[in-house]
Symmetry: D2
Subunit: 398 residues, 4 copies
């Protein structure tokens, strides 16, 4: 099939954020081009104008399109002829800049790939939802862990009833890199994540807890009812939570235990989930993403490997693979699967066709709003010593 | 060293419970003899007199000492000459019989090895504590998972400060065998465990939740402060909980998440624990008990294997091993380590020496009382929708 | 069922070897009593008379039956009344004493449980076979790894055709404890194993290579055709091999690669086997013995756990289990399964009944002879730079 | 740093092979662009002219540069202005076309990225070596498994002496996809691999055995002395080997066992290697590439994770990483690391600077020649029933 189908050309990408010291900016740049469907042509790579210009060569962005601010970028790109102008903006800034950049890009007519958590707070999220809806543009939030082939396989199996009614979810996202007060050094990643003005009301819960919540929601489709949360700050003097455990009740009575930690020695990025159904159970770990364990009483445990050639794989699972089983796919490929799904929608938009806006394969504005609601309610519940608070937001999709 | 040291003879064991269909009775009989330190000579193997007699040959118990009730056994054994009389009674009955049998055995002067949970409720537990104290006998509760060499290694490392201050515990005990309503079939194990009159106020929490709680307490020595619990019954019509998740706050501010399940498809006996300290973290799984992972930021992850010949092993870890690394030890050996420690005390008692009663290597009456308090407070908190309740019992030991 | 069925009493065991510093003597003593079917009543625990006497109390052997030599033991035991006399002798000496002790015990009418490798050389093995056959006694060789439940399960599946025709075997037995020249210290285990006069013509191949060979033969039933072997001594000054790799061709064309090492840093007792058939493949590791992986193209990988309650388990697999899945069984239990099968035969003999002598569940004199032939041919082939030599001995059983 | 440093522009890539049904063509296209350092601008994607043209849109190659043959491509590209002309040609055809395409591309002045095995036979390989040397161009062979960060880490540790003298290598490359006679269906991958005219003298050994051999050589730097090989064809009617095991003696006395299989049910791409040194041992599996186990007697086993931020990582290990530990990198990233190293050389060449030609980080013509020699000697030894043959080729580099 031709690259990007009827469009038959690569999509043109602009990156906001991603200057030196950035982690997620480079991830966006890599994931976006992995399938030869996009090319990075413009950027506003830093809030510091000099660094913004200086970083452009790192990405082979021509000097003319290395902008000193996102505002300049949006204005000048819009002035370019249509066959040069960017198609989409990837937002890879600290959290507090997601909202203004995304809003401006959408209002300028561009599609947006926004990092998570989507905004600084729920109010911004709800406002951004209106902007998205008005814009008609494609808007995705990079809850990238939903891009793993076996996560999509699991979702399809669960929605298909292979696990029966879901009773329980146990999800943990365990890291250790904030075990010391790294924000007091000049570690850029730690600094803004620990600063409420840039990170929002939550620390670990905003950074990774929201991924864990989203993963359970994505895989099961269960709608939440209420939440009881216990956040903690174990590193002295830190301003935000670095640990927390949360109980969620879903509408169907299912019980979820969600734990996020950034203070567990030696732990890297251990997002792990187990889901118990009345017919079967599933277990998956992000650090070993090409395997999923499926269990049924009385049967041998089954290891589903990411295997696009195997009959046991579901269509969504197969579609998310790039290479045969045994050839490990990883973080970039999963991230690229979010892009891939959004690209499909961007192509439809660019060629004047309708595209799905709510029930999308990629995490969208609905999920972004819900994520911000989750963070807010967890922080609030925790401040009330674990009081049960409602968790279902009207934006939530199944 | 001579078998049982100065005593220089095997200890004589009586078994109560353990008739056909029993699981734990055979475990006690096997674990007790594993080290050639005891011999099973008497039993009251069933509450059904015919079955009690008929089961004796299964254990090579001579007919004359195959009793039809524990009362008969205690009376007749006490009438035997001292050099034939039993030294200790192992209680392997359903929960509701632990208290009467243990109490009677202690009052008859015998040492007691009691299964867990120790009694039917907290009142019985507190009364039994008085009986134990009055008796001067050895009394152990078989929280057998504390008998694994690497658990003892971990405890010694933690008490030694190798992990620093403990911040968090995550412990899960996941099984699947009660996924269906097995108690409606003639499965004996399921039947009494699901019957409040025989099992007590909790199902999964009494059967396995209490093990998980005890394990965290044993490994860290942290004293609990309060508890918030959420029990659930996912199999329709079941009278007791089959799933539950609990938050515990320890006195030092540490946070514990404890989940117990008996409804997770395909899960066998997956007791797993992770402990986060300020200096290092530890992870262990019962189903792979000869390995423990020790992690520190910046260092390779370290796999401690059960290795009695290795310099990294602590004295308590080494003492709990029987064979070299790579020769898997398992459930029986861990169980036998509870017996081994209790035997040491029994030998001291039998030779007229003092022996430690509170700070014992084996789980004792203090732990038994605390376990019953844990169950009571979890059930109570759950009925109050997760309200925080106190968890520290005066019997608790560090 | 009554202990030892119709016999309805425990079998009486004598131990030769096993004095202080012994590893395998204690293993025999533990494995033999694990099921309450035997009791250790006599011993000649060391070739050193004082140590032989002094070690008796370690095993609760009464002084009167603590003999100073195996000859004395056999004579005096035979003089005891039949209802006190030992039933069997367990031979846990260094290799060079296996033959004289086993021969004398058999000729004295006792059953024999003999450690491996069975004798010092093939000639002794072939002579011992005649002695066994003449004696009418039960004779087992403790190739204990065949006692693991999942190994028996695998054997039954393979003989049943579940894997189709067997094409390839890959078996490795990797240890590291002889990485340094431990025999120059006073480490008793290392000393005799490295001494050709006590160990035989091979080092690692006699100690563990023979286990690996036996395991492949036991699991598949394939008859060997020829062998090409490459032994090496990597620790300078060592007299025997400490590493080696061997190619075996079976009669059906299957190809086996067998590697044994005692010089691999950090390795403990890593016996691992993979078997490829035309229909399926199997993989198992001794250090994680309660799992076996079964694979078929196009299917999820299947983990068979040792699960006596699961429908997928074969009768032989179930019969080799003692406790439910998830409760780890280990080395002792597997070792005890060799005893258990031999006990069944001993009971038949003791009650005057016929018992199978060739196609036994326990490794027998046929396997012992074959093991010695394997060692001899490997050493010989290696000395001829890997020349192909015949490997099928007439004693070999399917 | 600017993309491609002083060159400050992307490198221009042409792909030969990679039309529909190709696996490795898409891999080259993805790996080459992963770091935003190259862009695919031209191709001769199939030997079938129609398919060659039709496949161009799949890669966003403009029609004008979608050539119908590699000859046409080389000629027309050379006629383009220097600032449009391709920089390098990636050869992703079946084996028999590697030589003619690579030779022509080199003679036309282009750099070449060539798939493995490098040629159809040793003669071609040796001739190609002369062409490379004469050309002055960059030439790499995609032994991609050497691109994994932990493989480079291991190599650096071994060359640094961390393992001491190397005694033994055990390497296995186990697949199952050719368990059935897939070449009789229209499976394109299987068809040419099983055809001696397109694949060369070996089947599994040419396809994957050569990877396994290269990996051991790359990691240890040991020079080979001689080889004894046993190839087998287990699928009836197949023309080439689908299984084989080989013994290699290195000059220093080390012993290597190398097994390759394409008929092991359920196995995907299980390349695994263990290396024993006098000081330590290392173990790594391609299917779990972000972990490596390092073992030393008396120490806990150490799991090195791919962790660019950890002090235990070596410079080469760190340099091969793209994202932090716990964010799985996989097959594409390792493949891209071969490209990355070759790009560094191409940039030097393009900017008129010297570049290393023998001791390169990427596998080069020396390794390619050696690989073909390995295949030839294995096939020859196997035909002589495992006779020892020399294995050291004069092209071999340490």
């Amino acid at each position: 099939m031709a690259t990007n189908g009827d469009l038959n050309r690569k999509l043109r990408m602009a990156l906001v954020g991603g200057g030196s010291g950035s982690f997620i900016g480079r991830v966006h740049a890599t994931a976006a081009v992995l399938d030869n469907r996009a090319t990075l042509v413009a950027g506003a790579l830093s809030s510091n104008p000099e660094r913004a210009k200086a970083s452009a060569a790192d990405y082979d962005i021509p000097e003319a399109r290395a902008y000193t601010s996102y505002q300049e970028m949006l204005e000048k790109e819009n002035a370019l002829p249509e066959d040069q102008r960017i198609d989409f903006v990837s937002v890879a800034t600290p959290n507090h800049m997601h909202f203004p950049v995304a809003k401006a890009a959408l209002e300028a007519g561009f599609n947006v790939m926004c990092d998570k958590p989507m905004t600084l707070n729920l109010e911004e999220a709800e406002e951004l939802k209106k902007v998205v809806e008005k814009s008609g543009a494609v808007f995705a939030v990079t809850h990238n862990y939903t891009g793993y082939p076996l996560i999509r396989q699991a979702r399809e199996m669960i929605l298909n009833g292979d696990l029966g009614e879901i009773n329980a979810i146990r999800v943990q996202y365990i890291q250790g890199w904030l075990r010391t007060k790294l924000e007091d050094t000049d570690q850029k990643q730690a600094a803004w994540r620990s600063d409420p003005a840039k990170s929002g009301a939550a620390g670990a819960y905003g950074d990774i807890g929201t991924h864990a919540y989203n993963l359970g929601r994505y895989m099961t489709g269960l709608l939440p009812d209420k939440v009881s949360s216990h956040l903690a700050t174990f590193v002295e003097g830190r301003k935000l939570d670095d640990y927390g455990t949360t109980i969620i009740r879903y509408e169907n009575g299912a019980l979820c235990t969600l734990t996020a930690s950034q203070i567990s020695h030696g732990r890297e990025n251990d997002l792990a989930i187990e889901i118990d159904g009345t017919k079967a159970a599933i277990q998956w770990r992000q650090e070993n993403p090409n395997e999923m364990i499926f269990r049924q009483n009385g049967e041998p445990h089954q290891i589903y490997t990411r295997n696009p050639d195997a009959p046991f794989m579901s269509p969504m699972g197969v579609a998310a693979c790039r290479i045969p089983a045994g050839h490990p796919e990883g973080f970039f490929e999963a991230f690229a699967n979010i892009y891939r799904a959004a690209f499909d929608a961007m192509v439809l938009r660019a060629t004047g066709k309708d595209f799905e806006k709510k029930d999308t394969l990629y995490p969208n504005i609905h999920d972004g709003v819900e994520g911000m609601y989750f963070i807010q309610q967890c922080v609030d519940s925790s401040q009330k010593d674990g009081a049960w608070l409602p968790l279902k937001h009207e934006a939530a999709r199944r």
